[in-house]
């Protein structure tokens, strides 16, 4: 009897010790993560919605005590809407002072500029906003949970073919993403039997499209394709209509802000984008929308969604890496976990699947049409 009690108590004490033993050093005090976003400058809107996205997730998780009792903390740095130097400075601080093993990133140029440091110091980067082709295979530590623009562009081309168009005019960002998308789509469009009658590159964020639209109108296309992001498409659509351009317009971006600017002129605009529908029926989508709206009043769009879901992806990585034991709160371990898991639930509904070879992902893509200022889901697209 005495023996069983003593053995039993030993077992209990031992278990208690194991469970409540002080941190072996593998568990950090808090999960500090970084983010390099456009907090100031022309693109400050992106930085705002992106940070709001992941902060919503952080708050949700922290409200439940964090993961295994450890809470998240985010440190946000500003790349001033695309400055490589600012990105490097900010990232340097994140890595050397805050010692983050994981960071969100945005914009093609700043991401490219911090990659050398990320490679060196083994920091896992997750991009939920940038779409430039240069990001493909840019680094073993870079993963994108946003579909690349080229895939959307291809989808748009297929849709245009479906609608019976042959003459395409394209208006796009004068940067890697815009030009890259056009370069990708053009030969494939031609292979489908189409022609490109006008291709106009414009500075990002320009607000006067008259010169480009003039040339586009003069070329008499069947439709206008917009390789633009953010709010630019809204202004382009508005000004095109106000110049008397009546042909159909299609794009690869939809944001509610831009739709507000375009107002009634956006009717009929078709967009091929990541399938995030704030009015969607998926339960996680609805939970996210409610959570976001409660904090920030507006409905989230897919930028916020990507960064929101990014946090949850990270939690999966943490759980997996921790289960392996040892020092898990570092970029290497987190990356290995990502490569192993590959497929994560997406707040869009369904899954996001990463390709470990090049860091790209596959998500649901959909066709939307704008009617009465609202985006109406049409159908899912399978992109060949």
């Amino acid at each position: 009897m005495k023996r069983s009690i003593s053995i039993g108590s030993l077992i209990i004490i031992f278990s208690l010790l194991v469970i409540y033993s002080p941190s072996t050093g593998a568990d950090p005090k808090e999960y500090k993560i970084g983010a390099i976003l456009a907090m100031t400058g022309a693109g400050a809107w992106y930085g705002q919605v992106m940070s709001q996205g992941f902060l919503t997730a952080l708050d949700e998780i922290n409200a439940q005590g964090g993961i295994g009792g450890i809470k998240f903390k985010a440190v946000i740095e500003d790349h001033q809407s695309g400055s490589g130097a600012a990105a490097i400075s900010g990232f340097n601080k994140l890595v050397n002072v805050d010692k983050v093993p994981f960071s969100f990133t945005s914009y093609t140029a700043p991401t490219l500029s911090i990659i050398p440091v990320a490679n060196e110091k083994h920091v896992l980067l997750l991009n939920g906003g940038a779409v430039g082709p240069k990001l493909v295979k840019a680094s073993p530590y870079l993963f994108n949970n946003r579909m690349l623009a080229v895939m959307h562009g291809l989808g748009l081309a297929q849709r245009a073919k479906e609608r019976g168009f042959t003459k395409m005019a394209a208006l796009f960002w004068n940067d890697d993403a815009g030009i890259g998308t056009h370069k990708f789509v053009e030969p494939r469009w031609k292979a489908m039997g189409g022609t490109v009658v006008a291709a106009e590159a414009h500075p990002i964020g320009t607000t006067d499209y008259k010169p480009y639209l003039s040339k586009i109108m003069a070329a008499n296309p069947d439709f206008l394709a917009l390789w633009q992001w953010g709010k630019d498409w809204g202004i382009a659509v508005k000004q095109a209509r106000e110049m008397g351009f009546t042909k159909p317009i299609m794009g690869i971006e939809f944001t509610p802000d831009a739709a507000k600017i375009a107002g009634a002129t956006a009717d009929g605009y078709e967009a091929v984008t990541d399938y995030f529908d704030p009015k969607g029926t998926d339960s996680w989508t609805q939970k996210f929308v409610a959570s976001y709206k409660a904090k920030y009043k507006n409905e989230p769009e897919f930028y916020a969604a990507n960064y929101y879901e990014g946090v949850y992806i990270l939690t999966e990585l943490i759980k997996k890496a921790k289960a392996k034991g040892g020092d898990y709160w570092n970029g290497k371990a987190l990356r290995e976990a990502l490569i192993e898991i590959k497929r994560f639930p997406s707040v869009y509904g369904g899954y996001v699947e990463f390709n470990p070879e090049d860091g790209t992902c596959k998500k649901k893509t959909a066709l939307f049409v704008v009617k009465g200022g609202e985006r109406i889901f049409q159908k899912y697209l399978e992109i060949q």
Binding site: T40, G41, A42, G43, A44, W45, Q48, N174, E200, A201, H202, P203, T207, D208, K210, P211, Y212, S214, K215, M217, A218, K231, I235, Q239, R241, E242, M243, G244, F245, D257, K260, I261, G263
Partner: protein, 292 residues
């Protein structure tokens, strides 16, 4: 050829805005000789004051009025509290320039902090598309042109026919002599700032209607405020006006045969060429400082 005419129409509407920017800044500069770099800040203040006016439930007209009032108050304040102080302290042109630059940065970022950097629209203008053959534009563009013409004629009339206008011209010609003749030069400096700020507000409102207001429009506005004046010649209001139209046309037509992405550089190339050929500008009559 349709494209050409389309570009001409674009150029005229663009040039109209540049005209307004030019004459508003040109008046201030000719009278006070202050390189009022913060004129760009006046522009954004006008744009966002108008936006705010509309948000608070105002009709477009009232919003425009709000814009004008905001601009005038701001312009007067800068002159009264910043420039006058610096002038009294014998600040060099460089010092005044830097202070104005600092003002522009501060104001733009305050607005960005308060309103965000996405484009804020101004609703309520009934856009009607006008098509002549294959050339398309709308009544807003026509309105821009008309506004510019009205403001220009109004300003010239004011300067030629009214007592205050003549006093301003006296100060433009010779500030020292004007003072000797009993003209309160400081008061007329304020008047010049007031009128100049008043004039730029309609441009801000029109641009906001066409494209939406963003905080960094201040940089754009000041650039296109002094370019027509320098090209047209300091001291010549009609010169600045004409130069504004020329720049607008040059920028638009300039991309007829070359890729549109070079548009931003065209105005600057025109500026440099004009300055090489005729350093005082096309119609300037003020010899730059350094006369012996």
């Amino acid at each position: 050829m349709d494209l050409f005419w389309q570009l001409v129409i674009n150029g005229l509407s663009l040039g109209s805005i540049y005209l307004i920017l030019g004459i508003s800044w040109g008046l201030i500069f000719a009278v006070t000789r202050t390189f009022h770099f913060a004129h760009g800040a006046t522009f954004v203040v006008a744009a966002y004051a108008a936006y705010l006016g509309q948000q608070m439930g105002g009709h477009l007209i009232l919003a425009a009025l709000a814009g004008i009032i905001g601009a005038v108050l701001f312009g007067l304040a800068i002159e009264r509290f910043l420039y006058r102080y610096l002038r009294r302290a014998f600040a060099t042109p460089l010092v005044i320039f830097i202070a104005a630059l600092g003002t522009l940065i501060t104001v733009e970022n305050f607005i960005a902090m308060g309103f965000g950097t996405d484009a804020k629209p101004l609703e309520g203008f009934p856009i009607k598309v006008i098509k002549i053959g294959r050339v398309g534009f709308n009544n807003l563009h026509v309105f821009m042109f008309v506004t510019a013409a009205v403001l220009l004629i109004g300003l010239i009339f004011y300067l030629r026919r009214t007592k205050n206008g003549k006093a301003l011209r006296a100060v433009i010609s010779n500030p020292e002599m004007a003072e000797v003749l009993g003209i309160d030069v400081q008061k007329y400096f304020l008047l010049a700032f007031g009128i100049g700020s008043f004039l730029i507000a309609p441009a801000a409102v029109l641009v906001t209607i066409e494209r939406g207001a963003t905080p960094d429009l201040g940089h754009w506005a000041i650039l296109y405020s002094f370019m027509p004046v320098i090209i047209g010649g300091i001291g010549s209001i009609p010169g600045a006006a004409l130069a504004g139209i020329i720049i607008g046309l040059a920028e638009s037509i300039g991309i007829w045969k070359i890729s549109s992405q070079w548009q931003l550089g065209i105005a600057f190339v025109v500026l440099v060429i004009v300055l090489i050929i005729k350093p005082t500008g096309l119609f300037g009559f003020r010899v730059y400082r350094g006369k012996i």
